[in-house]
Structures are given as structure tokens and as C-alpha cells.
């Protein structure tokens, strides 16, 4: 029987204990026998057993190439693959839109640059970005600017409030053709005023591509409700496998797109002197797709669907806010971000006299997995005149006890080495 969103249960408030029980990796020890405390979820989340099982089951029982074969396995694989697309469309409120599978958010943005912007923008056209962007939402536009002579305008953010300068944005967007903006910063955790950005963008007659990689794990994004033109997401930051993501595209934008890569799956007919292309999402999915990964992502969405997403969001924010309050008690510690209602569960911090890599190494030796570096957002860090921060990021399986353990370890390390 075909999948329907009625198959999802009525979501219940998050039970951290029950959710956590589905993640076998969280039980493991690291290094010389320390209990793993995984606080690097903004880089990638762990995968529940249900995702691992779905992918194993596909390879054990259903493995076949999709779309072009008249045999049972191909039919099963195709059904499961397309069912995942359908689940994702329902999850992201995009049932009337297009969802193209990519290798992740980075490829999704590159796809938008190649398949839409390259065709629809010309020399002198303007793209508005923000100084908060991940490199994945900077470099493709720089490459396009170099190739097409497109102008890039940058929206600054305030170093004290960590908020975008919306007055500057309102000016920059005038006459622009495209706005590329991050929904929730992977460094600051700041959720940008997306609704206002959408309004101003469309008022200016421009299109908007939203980088929602960090928002998707904590927010039930409603693509059509928001009225975004394109949305880029990654599976692996929301319990799904690596190497798969998607670009969600509204119909009018999709109709303006040209194929990006040529080859299998995206063609209708190939002749020696010309080819014709598929008219649906497959037009932008050349080659054998990421079948097991798509199925795994579908399983991740099924798993996520049991939890009330607001309770997931509130849990992450609570852990982040507690972390900030405790880190502020350590002399010499600087926090980057405001951690207000709606923000992501990400805390970037830096001690004035303990190198970020040294702190991360001391924590690693105690079992804590945290991230250190520029977080693929060098322009953002450069504004603060720093090259790196430490960063912890939470997801729905992290406990308050883990936060307490983390704070205790950081405090002990800072007392000892600063």
C-alpha cells in the first residue's frame, strides 16, 4: 500500500531517554575507555537504529537500480526511493513543489547556482548575501560572479547583538535578482528574521534561496507556507545518512531551470545530434541516484515524526542556554551568539588564553566530542578578529547531565591551564 502522511503517528513531546535509546553509538567508549559525550551535532548528528536498519534492509533485500527495469527488485527500490521523496515533501511542507536529491546542502546550493542562476542571471545582476553565510553559500556565488559578472552585495551583522542589519538588507535587496541567506547560523545559532527577509526579497522582485541545513534538525520548516523559492538541506544533520540532501524548489523557479549535469536518469531521449530531458525532478538528478541514502533519510523522517518538533527545539535551546549561562562564569570565556527564542542549539565560545585546539584536545581525552575551527565560516569569524572557536551543538538525545559533565570538564581544564 502506498505511503501516506497518515502513517505518521500523532507526535508526542520529546522523551530524551526514549529517543536516546535508539542511538547505539551513544553507548560507546572512546580513547582510553571514557564514555562518549557527543556534542558535535551541528557537524553531523548520530543515526538512530531505524535508519541503520532501513539502509541495511535495502542492501540485504531490495538492492537494484531505480526507474528503468521491469523486475521485482527494481520496482521495490523505485517505490522505496520515490516514497522517501514523498515523505520529505510532506515533512517540509512542499507537496506542490519539487524536491531534487543532491549530495547535501553544498551541492543543493551549487545546483541552484548552475541550474537556475547561471541561466537566469546576466552581467550586472545582483545577488544579496549575508556575512553570516557558510562557505557553501558564499563560494558558488563567487564562482558565478566571476563567470557571469554578477554583483555580490553583503548584508553585515552586528558584533554585539549578532543580528543581521536589516536596514542594510532592505537597501541591498533593491534591484537584486536573488537573495541567498542562511536560516540559522552554524556558528552563532542565530535564527535570522526569515519572514521579513522573504517579504523584502519578494517585494524587490527577487528570488530567495534559504540555507536551512542547521534549521531542519530543530524546526518543522514549511516551504510553501514560508513562500521560499529554493531551500537547501542535508540529511545527515537530522538523523539521516551522509552524502544526501535536497534542493526544494517551487514550481515557478523550477520551470526556469536548465539541466546541470547530463547523463542517465535525467534524459527522455538521446539522439546523436541532440537529447531531450525529463520534465520532473529527474531532470536535475543525472546518474544512478543515492538510493540507500534516500531510503535512510526517509526512515530518519519517520523516526523524527514521532516527536513534537517544538519540544525538540525547546530542549535544544534549553541545553544551549544553560551552557551559555555556565560558560559565562569562567573568567576569560567569550560566547558568540545570543541564544534567544527560536535560535539553534549551538554554542560557540573561545577562552582568551587557552588555544581552541588545546581545549578540544583536553576535552577529547575526557570523552567529549566538540568541534573546533572556523566552522566553514571564515568571513564571519574574521569579523570578530578570530580564526577559530570551540563549538558545542546539541540534538534531541543530549541530556542535561551531559551539559553538566561538559561544564564541569571545561571549568576544570580552564582552572588548570589558564
Amino acid at each position: 500500500m502506498a505511503w501516506s502522511s497518515d502513517d505518521w503517528p500523532e507526535p508526542i513531546a520529546l522523551s530524551v531517554e526514549d529517543a536516546r535509546a535508539d542511538f547505539p553509538i551513544l553507548k560507546r567508549k572512546v580513547g582510553d575507555g571514557k564514555q562518549l559525550i557527543y556534542l558535535d551535532n551541528a557537524a553531523t548528528t548520530q543515526k538512530p537504529q531505524q535508519v541503520i536498519d532501513a539502509m541495511s534492509e535495502y542492501y540485504r533485500n531490495n538492492n537494484s537500480n531505480v526507474h528503468r527495469a521491469a523486475h521485482t527488485l527494481a520496482s521495490e527500490a523505485t517505490t522505496a526511493y520515490e516514497e522517501s521523496r514523498l515523505k520529505l515533501k510532506h515533512w517540509f511542507g512542499a507537496t506542490q513543489s519539487r524536491l531534487v536529491f543532491t549530495s547535501g546542502t553544498t551541492e543543493a546550493i551549487n545546483l541552484a547556482a548552475h541550474a537556475w542562476a547561471r541561466t537566469n542571471l546576466a552581467e550586472g545582476d545582483v545577488i544579496v548575501l549575508t556575512e553570516m553565510e557558510h562557505h557553501a553559500d558564499i563560494v558558488p556565488w563567487q564562482m558565478l560572479a566571476k563567470e557571469k559578472g554578477v554583483e555580490l552585495r553583503w548584508t553585515p551583522f552586528d558584533l554585539e547583538t549578532f543580528e543581521l542589519d536589516m536596514d542594510a538588507f532592505a537597501i541591498a535587496v533593491k534591484g537584486a535578482k536573488l537573495v541567498a541567506c542562511v536560516h540559522t547560523s552554524n556558528v552563532l545559532g542565530v535564527r535570522n528574521p526569515i519572514e521579513e527577509i522573504i517579504h523584502l526579497t519578494h517585494e524587490a522582485g527577487a528570488k530567495l534561496i534559504l540555507d536551512a541545513a542547521q534549521a531542519a534538525p530543530h524546526d518543522r520548516l514549511n516551504f510553501e507556507g514560508l513562500g521560499v523559492d529554493m531551500l537547501a538541506i542535508s540529511a545527515h544533520k537530522m538523523g539521516g545518512p551522509t552524502a544526501i540532501g535536497a534542493l526544494i524548489i517551487n514550481e515557478s523557479t523550477f520551470q526556469q531551470m536548465e539541466p546541470f549535469m547530463g547523463g542517465g536518469d535525467m534524459i527522455r531521449e538521446v539522439h546523436l545530434d541532440h537529447s531531450t530531458y525529463q520534465e520532473n525532478e529527474h531532470m536535475l538528478e543525472a546518474g544512478t541516484p543515492k538510493i540507500a541514502e534516500a531510503i535512510g533519510w526517509g526512515a530518519a523522517i519517520d523516526w523524527m515524526a514521532q516527536w513534537d518538533i517544538d519540544s525538540v527545539h525547546q530542549h535544544g535551546l534549553f541545553l544551549a542556554q544553560k551552557t551559555v549561562a555556565e560558560l559565562r562564569k569562567i573568567p576569560g570565556m567569550r560566547i558568540y551568539g545570543r541564544h534567544a527564542e527560536g535560535d539553534g542549539a549551538v554554542v560557540s565560545f573561545l577562552h582568551e588564553s587557552l588555544h581552541a585546539n588545546d581545549l578540544a584536545s583536553f576535552l577529547d581525552a575526557r570523552g567529549f566530542a566538540i568541534r573546533t575551527g572556523h566552522h566553514c565560516a571564515q568571513p564571519l569569524l574574521r569579523k570578530f578578529n578570530i580564526a577559530a572557536t570551540n563549538r558545542v551543538s546539541y540534538w534531541l538525545y543530549n541530556t542535561e547531565h551531559e551539559v553538566d559533565e561538559f561544564i564541569s570538564a571545561v571549568t576544570e581544564i580552564c582552572n588548570k591551564y589558564t
Binding site: G31, D32, H355, N357, D358, S361, D364, A365, T372, G373
Partner: protein, 141 residues
């Protein structure tokens, strides 16, 4: 090079690290050793002293003692990285340039640090070590 052939100063450090309770304690020892290096001040950091492929900013300068034996100066913004430079300086101090050129970097493994070093830091260590050896070769020319 077998354990027994390590220079005396290095051998002592290897034994201390081997006896350490866990990685945390090894890092603590590494952190403390950082201060023992003949520190290359930031004012002397140049593109030619910079160690590439290291997550932190690390610099080394191969020098000669008055008796023409090897001496290493170095520094890093990360104290743990500077600790690794310091141990390398202790390992190579007073050796002939020819001995430095064939010295094995495996002392890090014997200290129980190799597993603890992240791949980027392990690569950074090897880059640093090769740069030091290359510096010794240049001094001999």
C-alpha cells in the same frame, strides 16, 4: 631505531609518558613541556619558519650550537603543539646534522601519543618533523 637507542633526554620523556595513567595525563605533561623549548618569539616567525598542514600556527627554526651540533628553536600558539616541538628539540639536541637527518619520528608512538593525536595534528607533527630535518640538511650544505 630501537627504544634503547633513543638519546638519554628523550628516553626519560618516553618512559614518563609511557607510565602516564591516561591521555589526559599525557596531555598535561605535553602542556608543561611546552615551556622547555628555546622559544622562537612571534617577531621571528616568517613564512620560512611556518609549519604547514598544522591546525595551529607553529614555527620551527633549525640552528647550530657553538660546537656545530643541532639545536632547535620553535613555538606555536597551541601549547600542546609547542609541547611536541619541545620534545623534538630535546630529542635532537646536540646531535650531528647527519644524525638528525636519519632520526626516526616514531618516539611519538612510543610515548603513547600517536592514537591521541587527531589525524590533522598527527600530519602536522610529521610535517613539523620533516621541516626540522630539512632545516638540518640545509644547515649542512
Amino acid at each position: 631505531m630501537a627504544t634503547t637507542e633513543w638519546p638519554e633526554g628523550l628516553l626519560e620523556i618516553i618512559e614518563d609518558f609511557s607510565a602516564a595513567f591516561d591521555t589526559s595525563e599525557r596531555y598535561e605533561m605535553l602542556f608543561e613541556l611546552a615551556d622547555d623549548v628555546d622559544e622562537l618569539p612571534v617577531s621571528e616567525w616568517t613564512p620560512s619558519t611556518k609549519v604547514h598542514g598544522c591546525q595551529s600556527e607553529a614555527h620551527v627554526l633549525a640552528c647550530l650550537n657553538e660546537d656545530d651540533t643541532f639545536h632547535l628553536r620553535g613555538a606555536a600558539d597551541s601549547k600542546l603543539v609547542q609541547g611536541l616541538i619541545s620534545i623534538t628539540a630535546i630529542a635532537l639536541e646536540g646531535l650531528s646534522l647527519a644524525e638528525v637527518a636519519i632520526f626516526s619520528p616514531t618516539y611519538v608512538e612510543e610515548m603513547g601519543l600517536k592514537e591521541a593525536l587527531s589525524p590533522s595534528r598527527a600530519n602536522g607533527f610529521l610535517n613539523m618533523f620533516k621541516k626540522v630535518q630539512h632545516g638540518a640538511v640545509l644547515l649542512g650544505e
